[in-house]
Amino acid sequence: MQIQLNGEARTLEAEASVAQLVESLGLAGRRIAVEVNEEIVPRSAHGETRLSDGDRVEIVHAIGGG
């Protein structure tokens, strides 16, 4: 299936949870926040939240700004 990840198309080989996607990106344990289809997915729900074809996923972090 295909998702939009941070604005770019990405193909996932199998069905995946948000936690599995985060893990596959090497971001497990990092200070990030995840949104799927413009809804926050709380950290506590990453494991149980399944991704679907066409989902728009945003993964953000903190950067310098004023």
């Binding site: 090497g26 990030i32 926040a33 945003e58 903190a62 950067i63 310098g64 004023g66």
Partner: protein
């Protein structure tokens, strides 16, 4: 402050801060410089931006939140780069998730790239939604006193008018409007944007602002850490001068030494 005078803390949404200087984390050379400058500024509230994570980056790469740890500083995520209320609200919700429920945010909704002037229509709409959603909203706005009053009425916990355009270093362009905003406000008023050097930070405080938020003036100084120290002292000096109350201006001279008892009298 000085050893003989203890100022009241800056109170924002039930939080108390000894420092009235708030600083950003953008435009620094690296995280080391960021950390040193912020430490030298004495700031307790530190802003940052929320952006898409670079995918495929080195997982061990340093993270800004390691430099400005939430244990040491009160973090103030901003909505810089948002041009609609909807994007700003999404960004605040992402920030709250990023910081495990921390609900203090700096709302800014911009009008265009050239001026980065606040779009107050979108700002007002975003503020309504955010306050309803439980956020403590410190809001960047124009120096329009009517808009400032509306933002306070909506429930923003601090009103932050610009001194001049973001990153311009043009100082405080309309001190009379700032005075109008300060005189009517029931929440803290902070100058956010435009400060270029220490005297301008002191001026903001002498006008009666409760605090100053800045980034470029420190980060783009030739020596950012030294400028951070200068700004710390300027904000303190301006605050003390405001509380002390300036002498009245007068038309003519008034000698400081007595006229009586002169040897030539």
């Amino acid at each position: 402050m000085t050893d003989f005078f203890q100022d009241a803390p800056l109170r924002v949404a039930g939080r108390e801060f000894a420092s009235r200087l708030l600083v950003g984390t953008g435009k620094y050379r690296d995280f080391d410089e960021t950390g040193e400058a912020i430490a030298a500024s004495g700031a307790e509230v530190v802003t940052f931006a929320v952006r898409r994570t670079n995918l495929g980056q080195d997982a061990a790469a340093p993270n800004l939140l390691d430099v400005i740890s939430p244990e040491r500083y009160t973090l103030l995520p901003n909505t810089a780069g948002c041009y609609t209320a909807q994007d700003a609200v999404r960004t605040c919700r992402l920030a709250r998730e990023l910081l495990d429920g921390h609900n203090l945010v700096k709302l800014e909704v911009l009008g265009d790239d050239a001026t980065l002037y606040p779009n107050v229509v979108e700002t007002l709409a975003a503020a309504e939604t955010l306050v309803e959603d439980g956020f403590d909203v410190m809001v960047y706005t124009s120096d329009d006193p009517i808009v400032a009053r509306e933002l306070e009425r909506i429930g923003c916990c601090a009103v932050m008018p610009l001194g001049s355009l973001i990153g311009s270093g043009h100082g405080i362009q309309n001190p009379y409007n700032l005075r109008l905003i300060i005189e009517q406000a029931g929440v803290p008023v902070l100058v956010d944007a435009g400060i270029g050097t220490a005297s301008e930070a002191a001026q903001a405080m002498e006008l009666g602002c409760d605090g100053v938020l800045m980034n470029s003036a420190i980060a783009h100084a030739r020596q950012p850490v030294l400028m951070a120290s200068a700004m710390k002292q300027a904000v303190q000096a301006g605050r003390e001068a405001f509380l002390a109350g300036r002498m009245p201006r007068r038309q003519g001279a008034d000698p400081s030494s007595p006229l009586a008892g002169r040897i030539n009298a």
